[in-house]
């Protein structure tokens, strides 16, 4: 954790790697000092017990606020557990996801043979399939979130920083993507590109998800590039890329993290919907969405519909809570009262 000075150091370009005080202007609106009964003496005052100052870093404040958000913490734990199960699917799942057992079809959940979630119409263990489905969803969600965040960040940064015709152009491109009915285009894309492969689907999704972040990042760059410390940096000879990275970019970390987290959820739901309609990830790669399809054809076998859907619901719910907690933690200036 970096220790950050208690006042913004305007125009400090020769900042040490650990003292990026000039880079966090919006976040520096948080009070950085806490008067405690006892503690470390402050750098400049000669005060005695009763009024000591303890300087803390921005991140420890953020971490504190997040931890206080009990729902977010609980969700984090649950999510780590669920994603852990998915990540170690090979070790956790009792069966492979394609192990067919025609003697045991459409069996309701039972502890016999470890078929906790029952079996599907050709005897595959549903519990294992759901677990592998979790892994797929996890991979898709994280991939889409990371890639779309990078794209959004780059485009937003360029548009916001340089302004002018470049900004116009990039924003028109953003509008274009926004105007297209996302689901429809995705369906068309996967129908025609013959998606079925998990990574292709993820890539297509990522190409659509960057617009929201691009707008936000652009806004931040637009407003911050007018600040004095950027002018000072320019005057001292820093070139653009350095300014963008060093000074402005760290201020976008808050929205990027929040947006990225929520993007994982949206990606998972969208991929599930696509797969459910048959236009997403195709068998044999498991997807929670396509698992639900077998539920549709066998409505009486409730477990086929319930378990994959419940899993999606659980994952997305947890991510939403975590996103909420992150938003509270990283943007305290928002006068938001917690839901």
């Amino acid at each position: 954790m970096t220790e950050i000075e208690s006042h913004a150091d305007a125009g400090s370009i020769e900042s040490h790697p650990g003292l990026e005080s000039s880079t966090v202007a919006p976040m520096a609106q948080m009070p950085n000092v806490v008067a405690l009964g006892e503690g470390v003496a402050a750098a400049d005052s000669t005060v005695e017990a009763g009024l000591e100052l303890k300087v803390r870093s921005q991140w420890s404040y953020a971490r504190d606020r997040f931890v206080r958000h009990r729902l977010a913490m609980a969700s984090l734990i649950v999510l780590i557990f669920v994603f852990g199960v998915g990540a170690f699917a090979n070790f956790v799942a009792p069966y492979s996801y394609s192990a067919i057992d025609l003697t045991n079809i459409l069996h309701p959940p039972t502890t016999v043979g470890q078929h906790y979630f029952g079996t599907d119409e050709i005897g595959r263990d549903y519990f294992s399939r759901v677990i592998y489905g979790i892994r797929t969803s996890m991979e898709v969600g994280i991939f889409v979130a990371i890639v779309s965040s990078i794209i959004g960040l780059i485009i937003g940064a360029i548009a916001g920083y340089y302004g002018g015709w470049l900004d116009n152009l990039l924003m028109r491109v953003t509008d274009l993507v926004l105007t297209l009915p996302a689901l429809a285009i995705l369906l068309v894309a996967s129908a025609l590109l013959g998606a079925g492969n998990q990574w292709r689907v993820s890539l297509i999704l990522a190409l659509f998800f960057w617009t929201g972040l691009a707008r936000i990042v652009r806004g931040i760059f637009l407003s911050l590039r007018e600040k004095e410390y950027v002018e000072a940096a320019k005057a001292a000879g820093s070139h653009d890329i350095r300014i963008m990275f060093r000074h402005i970019l760290p201020n976008t970390l808050g929205p990027v993290v929040v947006n990225g987290t929520l993007a994982v959820a949206t990606a998972i739901i969208t991929e599930a919907a696509l797969s459910f309609l048959g236009f997403g990830i195709k068998p044999p790669t498991p997807s929670l969405g396509s698992l639900v399809v077998s539920g549709q054809s066998n409505p009486q076998k409730w477990w086929l519909t319930i378990f994959p859907g419940l899993t999606i619901l659980l994952i997305v719910l947890c991510i939403n809570f975590i996103g909420d907690g992150l938003r509270d933690a990283l943007d305290p200036t928002q006068r938001r009262v917690r839901a």
Binding site: L176, A184, V188, A189, A273, L277, V292, A339
Partner: protein, 321 residues
């Protein structure tokens, strides 16, 4: 205001052109439009060649795009390459059905969502608030297709177990059903419920947040300091201000719901534009697919415009000239 609208419309046109052109190129490159026909028996190579020429399929893509654009304006979206029938009547019919479902769902969701949002904010931290906050969190996390499926399975189950038909789980009508009858209501009830629940979650959450934001403002404190009774403070000052962001959210959401209707219509096999689209997509019926994309793009643009206009209307600080 009029100039603003005109400017926005004019500006949307290049976007529309570009997006349709991209879609057209994409769609044309990826599939053989006559593929289905080729498979039909009794299709002689000559007929196919004639068709190819008739539909300009031997021309480069930009030219074909231009023909398509002409078709859109002059021939009402032209004919399908697969069925060889005009596309417009299908679009018209299915659009009407989709509108019926979507608008009902959204209107219901708005009214309920706004009301619940208001009360949740006024009675913050009450049981009412916690309950509906949980509901909205669930609603927002719920995959549309799963919710639709659950409802469908539930009511199929009820029918099978007790033989009463409360709501129909597929289709728009029983035979001889009409557009505005109880029968239709029973058929669209479940899809409407599906869409409504999710939109309700969105609206109630936003309304609550917006109300809370406004309740904490200085001007509400001023209103109280003047001696206004609390109900007047809420209805006269808080509500009006809190509603402003909701109109934007609603307008944008409704535009987007048309996309989500695809899933609902597929699950409940409703003869709506989304279902039509999926069918045509599976058949690789390019012109029909393009027609759908065009129509939905226009809807989204229109609703974005409505969102901005409404916002300018409600907030006197924004004046477009």
């Amino acid at each position: 205001m009029l100039t603003y609208i005109t400017r926005r419309v004019l500006y949307s046109i290049p976007v529309l052109i570009l997006s349709t052109f991209l879609s057209f190129t994409f769609v044309s490159l990826a599939g053989d439009p006559l593929g289905q026909l080729r498979l039909q028996r009794g299709m002689s190579p000559e007929t196919l060649n004639n068709l190819k020429h008739q539909y300009h399929l031997d021309q480069p893509i930009p030219v074909r795009y231009w023909y398509w654009v002409q078709d859109v304006f002059l021939h009402k979206l032209g004919n399908s390459l697969v069925t060889l029938q005009p596309i417009w009547p299908d679009i018209q019919r299915t659009m009407g059905h989709t509108l019926q479902v979507v608008l009902t769902a959204e209107l219901l969701a708005l009214v309920l969502g706004v009301t619940v949002g208001i009360f949740s904010a006024i009675r913050q931290y009450s049981v009412f608030d916690y309950f509906f906050t949980s509901v909205s969190f669930l609603g927002l996390a719920m995959p549309v297709f799963w919710l639709a499926l659950l409802l469908q399975v539930l009511f199929v189950d009820i029918y099978l177990k007790w033989n009463i038909r409360i709501f129909y789980t597929s289709g728009l009508n029983s035979p001889h059903g009409t557009a505005w009858s109880l029968d239709r209501l029973q058929h669209i009830a479940l899809p409407v419920m599906t869409l409504c629940i999710i939109s309700f979650a969105l609206y109630s959450r936003y309304m609550r947040a917006s109300m809370l934001d406004v309740l904490n403002t200085d001007y509400v404190r001023t209103a109280r300091a003047k001696g206004l009774p609390e109900w007047r403070v809420v209805m006269g000052h808080v509500f009006r201000n809190a509603l402003i962001p909701i109109t934007t959210v609603a307008a944008l959401n409704i535009g987007a719901v048309f996309g989500g209707a695809i899933i609902t219509e597929t699950i409940f096999t409703l003869d709506g534009i989304g279902y039509y689209f999926i069918g045509r997509l599976q058949a690789l019926d390019i012109y029909a697919v393009m027609a759908y994309l065009l129509v939905t793009a226009v809807i989204i643009i229109v609703f974005n415009l409505i969102a901005d206009i409404l916002y300018g209307f409600l907030d006197p600080r924004i004046r477009y000239d």
